[in-house]
Amino acid sequence: MNKRLRRGLSAVAIGVTAAVALAACASGGSSSGGSSDDISKALKDGGTLTYWSWTPSAKDQVAAFEKAYPKVKVKLVNAGTGADQYTKLQNTIKAGSGAPDVAQVEYYALPQFALSDSLLDLSSYGFGDLKDKFATSTWNSVDMDGKIYGLPQDSGPMALFYNKKVFDEYGIAVPKTWDEYVAAAKKLHEADPDAYIAADSGDAGFTTSMIAQAGGTPFTTKGDEVTINLEDAGTKKWTKTWDQLVEQGLLSKTVGWSDDWYKQLGNGQIATLITGAWMPGNLEASVADASGDWRVAPMPTYDGGTAQTANNGGSAEAVMKQSKNPALAAGFLKWLNSSKESTGIFMKSGGFPSTTADLESSAFLDEKPEYFGGQQINKVLVDASKSSDNDFTYLPYQVYANSVYADTVGQSYENGTSLESGLAAWQKALAKYGKDQGFTLSSK
């Protein structure tokens, strides 16, 4: 290539880059919100923020942030776990005051707060640029209708955690399909009536994740119109399998996260956990008795061929609209969930990341935790995260929906009857609530 052409090309390149940069800056300032410049300015000026979170590493993350930005003071408040915190958040929203600047919100509850216009749209602060830093499914959970309502903190792609010691003792192979799983359940329970393949007394998050894995989309929202169909193909696929376990009494009725549940995980009476990738931290911290016994495998699928999982749990952090210093809050949030320092602290305390850099880092993938007998569990979990995306969406009142799950679907578990009747009752209750709240319910 002759010199003139090369210079010309580089000139064009510079020009294009400049144009793109200019466009980015321009779009940053065009909406009524702030811009990424506002963030840097706010961080420099300083101020105070309130941050509601129950994440164990939050304390250390806040300390590190205050060290990096000495002019900013962050007040960390543990206002409860999950639904308890959402109640308090909703109360402050209703009262019009008292909400924190930044709050931890699980993915399933995010649509509810977003649709009720309680969260700040962060796209004007240049958060769109962060898209590639995060795993796709987690980004899709915070990016709704072109608006960005928060940044992902962790992710919960599901996998099969199993107690190898128990499996070996009874000669059970690691199931790859759900049919194999049911067979394993029968074998285990026949061999030891005190042992169960899993504990399930009804958990809304688990149910929605399983329906998602089966390809179901029971909840759809379009503006004021809500469709609830807990009898769609995907849901039926799940209930066909799971009903076998429920009706044949192959599931332990121990309530999850209870004293008894921890004990049974420790002594092998609960042999598997089908749950999100954040579980290892919990097992290591709370079930010391079973150290070395557990392993991780991909989640069973329906056809045994293509890998397919779903997401279970995991949270994002969001900026509340009531925040008096939105730029500063946005700046804190950006550091909290996308800076290397912060995500490092989070991961050290056992959290499972949502940032692609961490998910792909060899250090992370090569970890061989002792608790899992030296297995490279993160390889399995990161693989799971690659196939955990699906079309499932939550209701604009999912927090309420989950609160009446036990009253409806829970009864099927309690009585050992078909899940379909429980799900039908849940559907009825949710439709009624939607109507009471002024939504239009359509049946398709």
Binding site: K94, G202, S258, Q269, S403, E414, Y433, G438
Partner: protein
């Protein structure tokens, strides 16, 4: 003044001629004393009730906002199966748990008063102790004890090789909760009865003994009649408590989420309506209706009780 203090010490002083004209007492002096109490009463009782009444006439929706709906909430409540089953449940609870608890308290009080025990004072304070324990702690402890796998009942089941004790099964859960409530308040009721028994004048017992009455006769003719008033009071409070039942089932809910639903008792229903569903108007309706029902029943019991007493 020292003469005043001397009088207060209980000595009967001889009549002293007034040294000064008595300061006239106004008609409204009483209000100086009763006033502050009434102000707080109005602020913390009347105003919230009024506000609840006001709220119950509106409906606030996620889509559509706040609207005045007259008595639509009350109509909806009347047809609400969840509410009626919760109300039925506390009524059953009331009819079973209250007589058992008061009966046991009566037995304990009579035993204490019979003066035929070794270590009366110890028993008195020991049985009263659970009252000092906060409901949260009581529910936590009993929750651990009720644990199916490793709690006491689980261990007993394993030891005896049976599966009989299932505190959180639908059939037994109300009994389990009743047990916690009985444990908490047995001593309190016992003490009310015992204190009343202590004020029966000794000469009544002397007279009865002179007439040749045995211990059982004494119980029926002197002690039980003496307890009629306190019984009515204790019953009224227990009725109110049963209708209000919230703390114990709410705290045990996490251990048995399928059996103890969000509308297990009317108060739990009101709570979940407000804080899970953000349906404050309907919740206020439930609260008002429950308040009225409780007040009516308490009033009826009191009227019948005092009528019996005055016969």
């Amino acid at each position: 003044m020292s003469t005043l203090e001397a009088r207060a010490a209980g000595a009967t002083a001889p009549a002293v001629p007034p040294r000064r004209r008595a300061r006239p007492r106004g008609r409204y002096t009483g209000w100086l004393f009763v006033g502050p109490f009434v102000v707080v009463l109005v602020a913390m009782l009347i105003v919230p009730i009024g506000y609840a009444l006001w709220l119950s006439l509106f409906r606030d929706q996620l889509i559509g906002g706040n609207q005045f709906v007259w008595f639509a909430n009350y109509v909806q409540l009347f047809q609400d199966a969840k509410f009626w089953s919760g109300l039925g449940r506390v009524a059953v609870f009331l009819v079973v748990q209250v007589p058992i608890m008061l009966g046991l308290a009566l037995v304990a009080a009579l035993a204490l008063d019979s003066a035929r025990l070794w270590g009366t004072s110890f028993f008195r304070i020991a049985v009263f102790l659970p009252y000092a324990v906060p409901g949260v702690v009581a529910a936590l402890i009993w929750g651990f004890i009720y644990g199916n796998q490793f709690g006491l009942t689980g261990t007993a089941n394993h030891a005896l090789g049976i599966d009989l004790l299932q505190p959180f099964s639908p059939d037994w859960v109300l009994t389990s909760i009743g047990n916690v409530v009985t444990w908490e308040f047995l001593g309190y009721n016992m003490l009310i009865f015992y204190a009343a028994l202590r004020t029966v004048p000794g000469e009544l017992y002397e007279a009865a003994e002179l007439d040749g009455a045995g211990p059982m006769r004494t119980v029926f003719s002197i002690k039980l009649p003496a307890l009629r008033g306190p019984m009515v009071i204790a019953t009224i409070f227990s009725i109110i408590g049963s209708f209000q039942l919230f703390n114990e089932p709410n705290l045990l809910k996490t251990l048995a989420p399928n059996v103890i639903g969000s509308a297990f008792t009317p108060n739990m229903y009101a709570y979940s309506l407000s804080f899970s569903g953000q349906q404050f108007n309907y919740s206020a309706t439930v609260a008002i209706v429950m308040g009225v029902i409780t007040a009516v029943i308490a009033y009826v019991v009191q009227v019948r009780g005092t009528r019996e007493e005055n016969r």
